[in-house]
Symmetry: C2
Subunit: 177 residues, 2 copies
């Protein structure tokens, strides 16, 4: 039952626009070898942005999963260039819902699906919100959804996106305390 | 702001052991075209298995993300053959922690990372637990962690796996009510 291992080799087997796929080998302390196929992704950020009345959500089409309309928190992927996660979050909040936040707090960090992808997600809390002109450049299909905090549990029930569920559940926990 | 679209074409660009990658095109109602790269995954199940004292977690190495030791709920992927999610969950609970459950309940369904993968996750609640001999076949690196319910919030803080966070947060919510 050892969990120490070292990477012994790897090759890129697919290079895509947003992610690549690697086939890698690992050797565990006890000598066992393991081969893994991994999606390499630059990582992503998202935020629970709320004020006294609403939490700011979005609805957007997710073609990859056949959904015309998935309820999510505002989010976006990190630039390959190694952009700071908080800066990315600030940019996404402005681009997706046209807001700036006076207070930012890292709520949690997690892997979205560590069995086959290395995507790391930085989840922020964004409060003290103010209007800022949105840059609708890439976001014409994003519908902004100001969801009443008094109906937060309905948002949780209606949400089928992992990162957003974590954000909404952590918000519900925080609002109770 | 339309979210209706149709798939207009696609080709498999990588075929792996656990997932494949497709490049697909879509046409939205307004005539706009979109191209998406998608990881196609068979889907997965996991369960929040708990009794009066503990919630049953596991620690396992996740080579793909460089973690020797990730705290997770018991989980596993669906067979390609279209195995029923509940049956998969029952098998995984036996294989990973050597338990059977008298009561099963679907807690939530979600996409783990709908921006680039179609993996759908079925999250169950498993209670009325009893011992069942484990099949340690594939699972020799899984450490079983009976985590005290009285310290559930520490598990949430220590957990960096999305599906498991959702399970633990929903359990915390349920235990409060």
């Amino acid at each position: 039952m050892s969990s120490e291992f070292e990477r012994t080799g790897g090759e890129e087997v697919y290079e895509g626009k947003i992610f690549s796929v690697w086939r890698e080998t690992f050797r565990h302390e006890d000598g066992d070898e393991a081969t893994r196929e991994t999606v390499r992704h630059p990582g992503a950020v998202g935020m629970v942005a709320y004020d006294d009345e609403v939490v700011w959500l979005v609805r957007q089409p997710r073609e990859s999963v056949g959904m015309g309309d998935l309820l999510e928190i505002p989010a976006g992927k990190l630039d390959e260039g190694g952009e700071d996660p908080l800066q990315t979050a600030q940019r996404e909040l402005a681009e997706e819902i046209g807001k700036a936040a006076g207070h930012w707090e890292l709520l949690h960090e997690f892997f979205t699906t560590p069995g086959f992808a290395d995507e790391r997600f930085f989840l922020y809390l964004a409060t003290d919100l103010s209007d800022r002109s949105a840059d609708p450049g890439e976001n014409e299909r994003i519908e902004i959804v100001p969801w009443p905090l008094s109906r937060l549990h309905e948002a949780i029930a209606a949400c089928h996106d992992a990162k957003s569920l974590i954000g909404l559940l952590l918000l519900a926990q925080r609002l109770r305390t």
